[in-house]
């Protein structure tokens, strides 16, 4: 009972209407150290979230930001998204000049109303209210205020004190209160420097953050989600567009997904059922069956997203996917699972973050997470085969860089479980080039190159199989952009889906490859795989060196020179090894008219201390230098 009262008083305290407050701070109050690298500075931000009932969430925002230049405009963020379940009660934007005089004022009716249909989406009820302000001079101050009410409490926007690069903050505050029986929880992430002041009383959490300098994105650094300080929030009892749910831990959360979102969506029409039964009837093992079912699904579906109501969370019915032949990731995964059920192969619906940055589902914080769904096939040896169901071309069990090596939420009938997806190791991520280069008397070359990629690298190459001749030509001319005058003679590709190997065989000619100066002919030796990549330099590197995946590249190339020439100079062997990688380049003379070079480049996965970044740059410089070595011939 006491709890209840304190809860009530909390709401009396934070309820306020939009006042169109003029910010108490002005541009002159900004400490010069905060202006460093800042395109914008948040003077003051106040976000209040109230959750008085399981199906009511009220979010009030106030944000005053100084914008110094065009790139800072995005920090104004003058928009609110809405749909059937989210109502924008109030929204307002006021613009002041640097001396605090009001220039412009947008009330709700002045905001533009747009459909928020993203690419690849056929229909979505998501809409957005946006104020289009076109600044005529800088700096200016924008004050954005809004009040939004939602019947969904499964989602509580996380708190990012600093929301983007090149933006500093002076004062930012986030307050959240929820009815006690909903059991609110939070988790601060990337708060190593303790820049957040957090106080929790009963059911109210107050977090503030002051005087934070602007961050700069860095090459080979951490992703925003792994670098920016943020706080996640969740409820143990919540509502998702009218569907009540609970999630104390992953097990109960998983059970809820199963019962409320997945149950009853897996009916398959009889004809399809029969086709699947016939398809797998004499197949001995589950893996073989699963392969056939996966192929069946790939052959008759495509990815289209339709987001209506709870459909944003609940998969479209399997029999509807069967009928229409399309669906989004949830629908296609759920359909595949339904087909696997018919074939008698066990599989689990799995929620994951799709991104190249290996973003985990945060293991010790149970709440709705993830942006993608894949299918897990448990194997006898307790390993798991992961299936991407939105791609018609990938081999069975291939997930590639978008969902590899990260925590995913696997929904088993008995509940949810966090499991790490497949990791592609250095040895597996291999790119090998075998080639022959024939130099002619006119200094032109004829090149035959065969390149094979596997592992994560397979995913970057197999698309070459399905593009037309013109685009392929373009691709190779850009791949070897350091060679002018390329005339492609032939291109053949072989996509070995069973072994997940992609092989490209290319033959091309190029005139005037070598340069004649006086009696000498200078020939850049590495014709087919030259790296010119050196990461950017930073005066003061802030982030560690992040290499997300290991790779290895192996080249063996034979060079034939004209009989009339003789070899005057070949470069010395290079061998460099560092913590993060290895590079070897060796040129050998086979006979008077034949040379062979072998090149090996290995990059090792890891998060290395920031001091190593400098060494990595120097390593890549040496690689570039090694790859640009020349041999000298005489006439």
């Amino acid at each position: 009972m006491i709890k209840y009262f304190s809860f009530l008083s909390f709401f009396l305290f934070i309820q306020f209407n939009l006042l169109s407050q003029i910010p108490s701070l002005g541009i002159e109050d900004i400490d010069p150290s905060l202006m460093e690298n800042a395109n914008s500075v948040v003077l003051e931000e106040k976000i209040k979230v109230e959750i008085p009932e399981i199906d009511k969430q009220i979010i009030t925002k106030y944000r005053a930001v100084v914008v110094f230049n065009k790139n800072g405009n995005q920090a104004v963020n003058a928009y609110e998204a809405y749909d059937e379940s989210i109502k924008v009660k109030e929204v307002r934007l006021s613009i002041y000049d640097k001396s605090g005089e009001e220039l412009k004022n947008y009330k709700k009716r002045d905001f533009q109303d747009y459909s928020a249909v993203a690419g690849g989406t056929l229909y979505s009820e998501s809409r957005v209210l946006v104020a289009d302000y076109s600044p005529k001079s800088y700096p200016y101050i924008a004050v954005f205020e809004s009040k939004v009410e939602s019947n969904t409490t499964a989602f509580i926007s996380p708190y990012f004190p600093v929301s983007d690069y090149y933006s500093a903050i002076i004062n930012s505050e986030y307050t959240i209160g929820a009815a006690p029986d909903l059991e609110i929880k939070y988790k601060a992430i990337n708060n190593d420097e303790n820049s957040l002041q957090i106080t929790q009383t009963e059911n109210v959490i107050n977090i503030s953050s002051n005087n934070v300098k602007a961050l700069i994105p860095e090459d080979l650094g951490l992703s925003k989600k792994k670098f920016f300080t943020q706080v996640l929030f969740g409820l143990n009892y919540f509502s998702l567009k009218g569907v009540k749910g609970e999630g104390k831990d992953w097990s109960t959360f998983g059970k809820w997904i199963n019962e409320s979102l997945l149950a009853g969506t897996n009916d398959i029409p009889e004809t399809t059922k029969q086709e699947i039964i016939d398809l797998v009837k004499d197949v001995p093992t589950d893996v073989e069956k699963a392969k056939l079912v996966y192929q069946y699904m790939q052959d008759r579906t495509r990815y289209i997203s339709v987001q209506v109501g709870i459909g944003g969370w609940k998969p479209m019915m399997a029999n509807e996917v069967d009928e229409l032949g399309y669906g989004d990731c949830k629908a296609l995964t759920n359909y595949t699972k339904a087909l696997m059920d018919v074939a008698g192969v066990q599989s689990y619906y799995t929620i994951i973050n799709a991104s190249n940055d290996k973003e985990d589902i945060t293991e010790n914080f149970t709440a709705i997470q993830g942006n993608h769904v894949i299918l897990a096939l448990p194997q006898n040896d307790e390993s798991i085969v992961w299936l991407e169901c939105t791609n018609q071309q990938v081999p069975f069990g291939y997930i590639g860089a978008s969902t590899d090596d990260r925590n995913a939420l696997v929904i088993k009938p008995e509940g949810g479980e966090i499991i790490k997806t497949k990791k592609y190791e250095l040895n597996e991520n291999k790119f090998s080039t075998i080639g022959t280069v024939r130099l002619n008397e006119e200094h032109g070359i004829k090149v035959e190159a065969q390149m094979t990629s596997s592992g994560v690298l397979y995913g970057q190459h197999y698309g070459l199989e399905s593009i037309d001749e013109k685009d392929r030509n373009k691709y190779y001319k850009n791949y070897w952009d350091y060679i002018d005058n390329i005339e492609i003679q032939s291109i053949e590709v072989d996509n070995n889906k069973d072994q997940v190997l992609f092989t490209e065989s290319v033959v091309f000619d190029a005139e005037s490859y070598a340069t004649e100066i006086g009696e000498e002919i200078i020939v850049p030796i590495n014709v087919v795989n030259r790296s010119n990549y050196v990461p950017s330099r930073y005066k003061e590197r802030k982030q560690p060196l992040v290499i997300s995946r290991g790779y290895n590249y192996q080249d063996i190339v034979t060079i034939e020179i004209p009989m009339s020439n003789s070899i005057k100079f070949i470069p010395d062997a290079i061998r460099i090894e560092e913590d993060f990688g290895k590079y070897e380049f060796l040129v050998e003379k086979i006979n008077e008219t034949e040379l062979r070079y072998t090149r090996y480049l290995e990059i090792r996965e890891g998060i290395y201390p920031r001091e190593q970044y400098k060494n990595y740059r120097s390593f890549r410089r040496k690689v570039t230098k090694g790859d640009n070595q020349k041999i000298i011939l005489t006439k």
């Binding site: 076109s134 052959d299 339709v306 009928e323 071309q393 100066i517 050196v534 950017s536 330099r537």
Partner: protein
């Protein structure tokens, strides 16, 4: 009542119209058709058909345009699956809006030689309100996968008297294109081709008789609910366009807006004669375009109501007796006081007074305000209609061909063009986006003048590098670069107001320099765009077999030939005619000298279109390299591609031949 009537009319139309094509009757032999262009093309149109005509069903509703689209598309690879999803954008303005009807579709699949047909379900059709002006109807065809054929048709009713462009070139091949356009005698349209390909045209006139409803007028002109049916007979011109095997349009480098090169036929309404003898002309000649514009509330008339600027004009008149100073300060005044809202418009959406008071406006509002103020200040100024590069090529006398207005002011008997939407332009400078074909200067007396908007002036880039190599092969040097001309705008846009660290990092990364110090960048309007810095590098010299090899242009050489493709479909756009001057002074230790001094080189393009020269000289231990690249035109037709490509090849070959230094 009105709504019910509309619904009835639609039904009526459907019943009366015998469709000129059949849908849902595809034969298996259509699966034998292959594209002659590319085996791996994602998809191809077996048939692309359009039927356009004008209809009058109800006198009060008036004439409207009806468009029927009918496509048959083979999905050839999985990359073509998106051709099974269709989106239709519908325009609306106040109470008038376009509508879609009769969406019908089938997906055909060949299963063991038998045709399997699936019908598009109504629940796969969605309507979304995109914005205040546009709705969107979209649908996804069922069972779309590699190897199927999709067929769909729909009708669009438009209360706006327009015939949408006949687009017969797609991103994938079109095997057979056909369009039938029926124009009743009361309308006149001008047609224009865009792009490389042409259709064959057949034309005939037909008599057409039809019924329409009207409401009988009551006594004294009052309206009654009595709907009567009347009959009308008119002559209709029937144009049939057709073309077989149209290759796909593909992205090429050095183009501005690819859509400008998509082969299509554009229709522009020239006149309408709704009741006999009362012909309303829209545009057929420049005289008529100008007349329409001068009489328009959204163009000519606002320029007559400029009393609110009188005082302001007087102020400038008094403060700046010199006309040029006056014009330039008015230009700065408008730039600094009226914010451009980012929208290109060729006509205003509200009065100039309102725009002036709200201190913001579209490009038409900003620059008509500029014209008005220049006039109020006693200068001769006129608006110039123009089309920006991301809009289209304005190839004919038209209202719709333009999306922007510039201000022209007469100074010392010469016209200076001003664009107050471009904050980073000095008076007379125009951004790349505005340098597009021709504009039209419009005078109040009804006369007009063609204005060439391609830049005639070369933009200049001057780079000076003084570099010193020490005996340990390390180099230190000074870099200076200056831009002159309209290229300064893009430079200022890129660097103005950016944190110093960002600017510095950009130049360090640009040439991969190890250290960069004493950095200075000028991007303000009062000076030329300039950069200078000191640098150090270890990568600029290669020692092979005891000899030193230095690239004559150091890091300033072109790294690759941008023109890699062997053929070219669209014109090559260099943005501006230009002169690039690079002077490099290389100081080497006294111990080293050039093995031999390379011969000077001069490459000339035919017809004086361009030239390149590279001169290398040695004075004691200083080697001077001078490289001048000059191009005299902005736009080159595809027929000149080979000339340009081989010119680049030769230039690159010379630039990358290293200097060889030996020990004395």
């Amino acid at each position: 009542m009105r709504k019910i009537l509309v619904a009835l009319i639609v039904l009526f139309t459907v019943l009366v119209d015998a469709q000129d094509f059949k849908i849902g009757k595809l034969k298996t032999d259509q699966f034998d058709i292959t594209s002659n262009f590319e085996a791996k093309t994602p998809a191809f149109f077996i048939k692309k058909e359009r039927f356009s005509e004008f209809k009058l069903n109800d006198w009060e509703e008036g004439w409207y345009a009806q468009k029927i689209v009918h496509n048959i598309i083979k999905i050839n690879t999985t990359n073509g699956l998106d051709y099974g999803t269709v989106t239709i954008n519908l325009y609306k303005r106040s109470a008038d809006e376009e509508r879609v009807n009769n969406i019908e579709g089938y997906t055909y699949e060949l299963v063991d030689g038998a045709l399997k047909k699936t019908k598009l379900d109504k629940k796969s059709i969605f309507k979304t309100t995109l914005s205040e002006r546009y709705d969107q109807v979209s649908f996804a065809m069922p069972n779309v996968k590699e190897g199927v054929i999709v067929e769909y048709s729909y009708e669009v009713f438009s209360p706006f008297w327009k015939i949408d462009d006949l687009i017969f070139q797609e991103d994938v091949p079109v095997i057979s294109y056909k369009a039938e356009v029926k124009v009743p005698e009361i309308f006149e349209f001008n047609t224009y081709y865009q792009g490389k390909y042409r259709c064959t045209l057949e034309q005939e006139n037909k008599r057409k008789s039809f019924n329409f409803s009207f409401r009988q007028q009551g006594a004294y002109g009052t309206k009654t609910q009595n709907t009567r049916i009347a009959n009308m007979t008119i002559t209709e011109a029937v144009y049939t366009y057709s073309k077989q095997n149209i290759p796909p349009l593909k992205e090429e480098i050095y183009t501005n807006n690819l859509e400008n090169y998509r082969s299509s036929i554009i229709f522009e309404l020239a006149s309408a004669e709704l009741s006999q003898g009362k012909k309303k002309r829209f545009a057929t000649s420049w005289e008529e375009v100008v007349q329409t514009l001068n009489e328009s509330d959204r163009f000519g008339k606002p320029l007559l109501k400029t009393n609110f600027l009188k005082e302001e004009g007087q102020r400038f008149r008094e403060s700046y007796p010199n006309q040029k100073d006056r014009a330039y300060s008015i230009y700065e005044f408008v730039k600094n006081n009226i914010a451009w809202d980012g929208k290109y418009r060729s006509r205003v959406d509200r009065s100039l007074k309102k725009a002036f008071e709200s201190k913001a406006g579209s490009s038409a509002e900003v620059n008509l305000l500029l014209v008005a103020l220049l006039r109020e200040a006693g200068l001769t100024s006129h608006p110039v209609l123009s089309a920006t590069k991301n809009y289209k090529v304005p190839i004919f006398p038209t209202l719709e061909g333009f999306n922007h207005i510039l201000a022209a002011v007469a100074l010392n008997d010469r016209l200076t063009l001003l664009d107050a939407t471009e904050r980073f332009a000095k008076p007379g400078q125009l951004s790349e986006n505005v340098h597009n074909w021709e504009g039209r200067l419009v005078r109040p007396d009804g006369s007009s003048q063609k204005i060439n908007l391609f830049s005639k002036k070369h933009v200049q880039e001057q780079t000076l590098v003084n570099i010193t190599f020490s005996e340990d092969t390390k180099a230190r040097g000074v870099f200076k670069k200056r831009l002159l001309g309209d290229n300064e705008i893009a430079f200022r846009k890129k660097f103005s107001n950016k944190p110093m660290a960002t600017q510095e990092a950009y130049f360090r990364d640009q040439y991969n320099l190890e250290t960069l110090t004493d950095f200075s960048l000028k991007s303000d309007l009062d000076s030329n765009a300039e950069i200078s810095y000191k640098f150090e590098s270890q990568e600029l010299l290669e020692v092979i077999n005891d000899k030193w090899y230095i690239q004559p242009l150091l890091f300033l050489k072109e790294n690759e030939n941008p023109f890699k493709a062997s053929t070219r479909e669209t014109p090559i756009d260099f943005k501006f005619p230009f002169i690039e001057r690079k002077i490099i002074n290389i100081e080497v230790p006294k111990t080293h000298t050039l093995q031999e001094i390379p011969e000077p080189i001069k490459l000339l393009m035919t017809d004086n279109l361009g030239e390149y020269s590279l001169t290398i000289s040695q004075n004691q231990n200083v080697i001077q390299v001078m490289s001048i690249f000059k191009l005299n035109r902005t736009l080159f037709p595809p027929s000149e591609y080979e000339t340009i490509r081989s010119f680049y090849t030769q230039m690159l070959e010379r630039q990358t031949t290293p200097l060889v230094l030996i020990k004395k």
